[in-house]
């Protein structure tokens, strides 16, 4: 086995984090994407921009504000303090919350595209057959948007796996709790353990390539082209 127990622990933690975040974002991201795809509200632009912010913001910006917000004097920190919980930085829950923000556009945007591609007609047809909007969503829109869900899920998962800056800012580098694979690699490099860095980095490289390969194979229309 090329990976040490510490490396393995970091990989497992990373996969756990990515799974939890993807699951949360499936639930939280779908209504946002649906609303963005269907709405004619003037809030569509601003909300869409907020959702897309993590695409352009440096992770350190997000990490910095989260560190302040989750601290005992920040709004989130006061809330957790009131509940009698430790500050969220340095905890797995803190990482989950940060990653949900960080990976939000990777869930919402593919879903929004998928929903927009369906168009109005299938839903209108469902409505004429007396399907309620909720019923139409689950029986018509959801199956039609399935490839979009796959893409969104895989991208969200992969992007969370690749997260580095935010974890570095708020993680505190605790083994088994916040030391994810990307941070573990950084640690190896800083400690001049290039051999260890290589092993883990190679695993991440192969994994990321496989993920992208899967996404491209799934992409609607990929076979036709």
């Amino acid at each position: 086995m090329i990976l040490s127990t510490g490396d393995l622990q970091a990989v497992i933690l990373t996969l756990e984090l990515a799974l939890v975040v993807t699951a949360i974002l499936f639930v939280a991201g779908t209504p946002i994407a649906w609303w963005l795809a269907r709405t004619k509200s003037r809030w569509k632009g601003p909300i869409g921009a907020v959702v897309a912010l993590p695409l352009v913001l440096p992770p350190s910006v997000l990490g910095f504000y989260l560190l302040l917000a989750m601290g005992p004097n920040g709004p989130v920190g006061r809330l957790t303090k009131g509940l009698g919980v430790d500050p969220l930085p340095f905890t797995f829950e803190g990482l989950v919350l940060a990653s949900v923000f960080y990976s939000l556009p990777f869930m919402v945007q593919p879903l929004q595209n998928a929903f927009e591609a369906i168009g109005d007609r299938p839903l209108e047809a469902a409505a004429t057959l007396r399907a309620s909007p909720l019923n139409a969503f689950f029986t018509v829109a959801l199956p039609l948007a399935l490839p979009g869900f796959l893409t969104a899920g895989v991208l969200t998962f992969a992007h969370t796996v690749g997260e580095f800056g935010v974890v570095l800012m708020i993680g505190g580098n605790i083994p088994g709790i916040t030391r994810v694979a990307s941070v573990q690699i950084y640690d190896h490099v800083e400690a001049l353990e290039y051999g260890e860095a290589h092993s883990l980095a190679a695993v991440m490289l192969i994994f990321s390539f496989m993920v992208l390969l899967t996404v491209y194979a799934w992409r609607p229309g990929a076979k036709k082209a």
């Binding site: 560190l67 004097n73 708020i170 505190g172 580098n173 640690d187 800083e190």
Partner: protein
């Protein structure tokens, strides 16, 4: 003919003034942030034409970068072992010079740490203790040694959170996310942090000395400014600044 001579003279004069204005980039350990900023500001007053840029970060990171020929002219490490290794590998244009010995302190933004000792860290009211990453940050390594010598490492290890360098560690404490931390005395003495609560000086008998050293890098071999600045760091006014920020000075010039 005469005009050509005049022109040549002007060109020569211009070249001389241009050559006079030098530029250096310094890679410095994060614990030097306030002391070296002050020293550089003093130096700039005497040499307003020269440009001195300082990048602060972790000594280990700079060590790696300089091996990849990063454009730093001077390297002030928080651990003298790093410049020593660089010198051995042929990346230095000067000998390794010790410039200071650092100290570690307990510091908190929420309570008066001057009334505490390391033993208090086992107290159940303290749930998070920030130290620099012992794996590659010299201050973190010394913090770990001090905790081990005190015999409380096993008790406090589950409460530890690790900053990437000593400034990042201070940030964890300053934002209150960790109630207390072990940081550099040089940072704790900076007015911004000193105003937020006292510090407890950890006895240096509990850990190996934090011997710090610098080198002029290979790429700055012909850079006069690098040499001039290095000489200034060894001068009396600069040494006074270092002392004021809690550094012990290397014995040789005392």
């Amino acid at each position: 003919m005469k005009s050509i001579q005049t022109l040549l003279l002007i060109v020569c004069c211009l070249a001389a003034t241009l050559a006079h204005a030098e530029k250096i980039v310094i890679a410095a350990a994060a614990d030097l942030k306030f002391a070296l900023d002050e020293i550089a500001a003093e130096f700039r007053k005497a040499h307003p034409d020269d440009t001195i840029e300082i990048v602060y970060g972790s000594s280990g990171k700079f060590f790696t970068q300089i091996q990849q020929d990063a454009p730093y002219d001077l390297y002030f490490s928080a651990d003298i072992a790093f410049p020593e290794k660089l010198a051995t590998a042929g990346f230095a244009a000067s000998e390794v010079k010790p410039y200071a010995v650092g100290r570690i302190v307990l510091w908190s933004a929420q309570m008066d740490a001057s009334k505490l000792t390391l033993k208090n860290l086992t107290d159940s009211s303290i749930t998070r203790i920030a130290i620099a990453n012992p794996k590659h940050a010299p201050y973190g390594k010394r913090a770990e040694e001090a905790l081990r010598t005190t015999g409380i490492w096993a008790a406090v290890e589950p409460k530890l959170v690790y900053g990437e360098n000593i400034a990042h560690t201070a940030q964890f404490v300053q934002t209150g996310n960790a109630r207390i931390g072990i940081i550099a005395l040089s940072l704790a003495l900076n007015p911004e942090l000193a105003g937020q609560g006292g510090h407890y000086l950890i006895p240096d008998t509990l850990h190996e000395p934090l011997a710090q050293g610098y080198i002029i890098t290979k790429r700055a071999a012909d850079n006069i400014l690098a040499e001039r600045f290095a000489a200034y760091v060894d001068s009396k006014p600069a040494r006074e600044v270092m002392t004021r920020y809690g550094f012990t000075l290397p014995a040789k010039d005392k």
